[in-house]
Symmetry: C2
Subunit: 504 residues, 2 copies
């Protein structure tokens, strides 16, 4: 044990971490990535070690922001430090790496240590990769799901509650902005928590934020939902299943998404809001998360099996995900298209998909007869009741309830990509459209995005506009335009894809 003088480091590192001079670390017999016990006047904790030869003098200890906020440590105070064994979950992750299944208590331990920032990214990566390699039994997925719920906030709406989720990957998928008001208009409670975009051009929370606030805490969400029967808010401020956010941050650079983890991620969020009936949208196609029908059916079966263990009624809708839903991509454009659809002026792909998924919930909630949910959803939409409900929700969430589609501001810097020849549209690339919309500034710049004029099978003439890019700034428009010219967001039969050699 040695005594060191604290130096605060105003950097968030996502874990409890201290910085030691390399010589001091050697003296207490610890290495970077090891754990140490630290004790200040008022508090004790364990923390990760990182070492430096230059940032600190010997005898100093650097305390990163996460830790000094938690322990209320002051600059210059004395801290004693000694070696600590690794947290228990390290051995459990080791076991999972070796291919052994973990039990209920063991998942609780792992998830608790993740939430309490006792594990570093390396160990979390190891846990996720072990799930990816060995898979997880349905028992394990259940234990993981329970542990993720128990380590977070749960919201009790005191009424039967319905919910919807998409496995993702399809640009322009603004169906939640139709489903929630349709279902809420039928008096079923649907307090929808959504995410912001990580790799897409707009998450549902980003899109809804064009129309109203989306950041509410649990009690505010409850009040809004009980008042209007529906809500569309960002899940990140609610504290539900916080392990999920941490795990997703490590999944992103690894570019993996183990199926057991995906199931637990989605179900834990639904359980945390006490959902009784859930519909899962599984888009299938190139560029979507699930690429084959067979994989979608298998995934759907797993969702159903898992939900039965929690007494949740759950149905999956396998949907077409090979090209965008509707024509507009990007926060403001998607909000505009959703509002157009609520006014009865939406594209068929958006209306059909939204009402089909909403219909499943209407049947689950016994407001529609079996087999008649979609018809009822269309009726609610056509009657204007869904639009009226959406305006109530916008108002309850602090937005302008009277906004019209045209009043939604979209980026005024625009450029059109035109058809180079006559022909049929043979391909629309989800990945290219997302990349172009992001290059234009989405999701950060709400008005940025892409409007796709034609979809697969449409006949186009030379010089027809294939897509229009919107941006808020000329430099971003330029970036997006260049990207559109070098990728093939829309392919026309007969179009020259490459010239070889390129420069003649």
């Amino acid at each position: 044990m040695i005594e060191l003088k604290t130096k605060l480091i105003d950097l968030r590192v996502g874990k409890r971490m201290v910085l030691l001079h390399e010589k001091d670390a050697q003296e207490i017999g610890t290495l970077a990535h090891d754990w140490v016990k630290i004790a200040s006047k008022d508090s004790k904790s364990i923390a990760f070690v990182d070492t430096t030869q230059s940032y600190l003098k010997r005898g100093e200890i650097g305390i990163f922001r996460d830790l000094y906020e938690e322990l209320e440590i002051e600059e210059g105070s004395e801290i004693s430090i000694s070696t600590a064994p690794p947290p228990e979950s390290i051995k459990l992750i080791q076991r999972k790496i070796e291919g052994k299944a973990l039990n209920k208590e063991e998942y609780q331990t792992v998830v608790r240590d993740i939430v309490n920032h006792k594990l570093g990214e390396i160990q979390i990566a190891a846990f996720l990769l072990a799930e990816e390699f060995h898979g997880s039994t349905m028992d394990e997925v259940e234990f993981l799901t329970r542990a993720m719920v128990e380590t977070g906030t749960s919201i009790d709406f005191e009424r039967p509650c319905y919910d919807k989720h998409s496995t993702g990957g399809v640009p322009g998928n603004k169906v939640t902005l139709l489903i929630v008001p349709i279902v809420a208009a039928s008096k079923l409670l649907i307090p929808k928590t959504s995410s912001r975009a990580i790799t897409s051009a707009s998450g549902t929370a980003d899109t809804m934020e064009v129309l109203s606030d989306v950041e509410f805490d649990a009690s505010e969400l409850k009040e809004i939902a009980l008042r209007t029967s529906g809500a569309i808010v960002w899940g990140g401020k609610l504290g539900i299943a916080p392990a999920d956010d941490i795990l997703i941050r490590v999944e992103h650079p690894l570019n993996i998404d183990p199926q057991g983890q995906m199931l637990a991620s989605i179900l834990s969020k639904k359980l945390s809001v006490g959902a009784d009936g859930v519909v899962i949208d599984i888009p299938v196609g190139e560029g979507a998360k699930v690429t084959t029908l067979e994989a979608a059916r298998k995934l759907a079966k797993s969702f159903v099996e898992l939900s039965e263990r929690f007494n949740i009624r759950l149905q999956c809708g396998v949907t077409y995900g090979g090209q965008p839903v509707g024509h507009m991509i990007g926060p403001a454009l998607e909000a505009r298209e959703a509002l157009l659809a609520l006014e009865g002026r939406g594209p068929a792909s958006l209306v059909e998909k939204s009402t089909a998924l909403a219909g499943i919930l209407l049947e689950m909630g016994f407001v529609a007869q079996p087999g008649q949910g979609k018809d009822l959803a269309k009726e609610i939409l056509a009657s204007g009741r869904a639009l009226k409900k959406m305006r109530q929700i916008i108002e309850a969430q602090g937005g302008n309830p009277d906004i019209t589609p045209d009043e939604i501001h979209v980026g005024e810097q625009t450029v059109a990509i035109r058809a180079p020849c006559d022909g049929f549209v043979t391909n629309v690339s989800n990945a290219a459209l997302t990349a172009i919309a992001r290059a234009a500034g989405a999701p950060m710049e709400k008005g940025a995005g892409v409007v796709l004029s034609w979809k697969r099978g449409n006949k186009v003439k030379k010089n027809d506009v294939l897509l229009e890019i919107h941006a808020e700034r000329a430099s971003k428009l330029n970036d997006a335009h260049n990207l559109a010219l070098t990728t093939n967001p829309v392919t026309i039969e007969g179009m020259l894809l490459h010239k070889i050699p390129e420069f003649i």
Copy 2:
């Protein structure tokens, strides 16, 4: 692309990394763990992104030490930044995660990106775990080994060259300090590069450092080795196979050591010094890296197969690793015991093991007839030629050639652990002895360590000294003493291991 003002952050993070304000990161469409292109007035690079809400103001970019040293960026200068695709190796690691083998060029790409700090710990962890899960074909181990050699320094000694390595895990394994002078005394060239302790009480480099300097660059090592036929230096300053150091730093917190990686790690170091003949010591037993004879045989076969691909003559010696080699553990104590053995006063376990392994090299180098290597090694040792050679090596490396075992300073703070009853020693715990020696201050405090009086099968009487702990400071002695009382470093038949309940 945006322009930002640099702020230098004097922290080494082991990779090319920049810190962005979260809003700036969102504006250019990048997330923590993504890569960005950065361009200053004079230089360009790609770097990792981390984000902060508080450490920087918007418009500032934090440059960590690794990067600003490399690019010579100055505080306050302007840097432009734009998104960059991940390095090519990311896709290759993905392929390895999926269980596919990589080819020669692909291993080159991965190892080059590791050495150039283009991969973060998460990705390196993924690579190592993929090796652990799927294993590696012998082709892959060969490609990996070659890539590790090619990305580092190679030393050409211009003479046939012999080498030795231990897979590790046994405390007190100071055999290198006998093998090198025995082999060098026979005129074979043996320029041994060694490591410092990571989790043990003393690495060979730590032990040798008690007697002389060990930090030399490649040309200094060459000069020393050619002058005296032998050398024992720290490998860390030579720049050979630098990927290995980076990989080992990530293996440590993961607590894994994929076999293909171990093979490549050891062989790449031997290839980098141009070894023609190598003996590998594989200690087997509880607490050693390899715990069963069957596993040792398999590992030995893989070593031989791999060495054949590089035209290296290699033999493995499977040795007993269930308890310490000799009686002394800790840098100074091990140096003392080695010197005693060179003077002809060493314990049998140390002398037998060292001469057996040295004998293999003497036969390989054709200075001993087949089957007579060990006898020749013993003869060289008994004649005093090995001691004389060791004194030459110590002198060539800047130490005192006349030092006697008694002149080696060991920690003066001591405490003895005594036998609680009469009986036979039934167990000696490698792990407990290592932990006690480290608690006493080893390897940082050279004089700290443990002297073990008796080994398995010895008969002891009540109150005989079982082990003596040495430390340089009273507080460390106390820590080590407490640890010795609560673990069972030496077990005597008839000894009470636990009292239940403990406090009556």
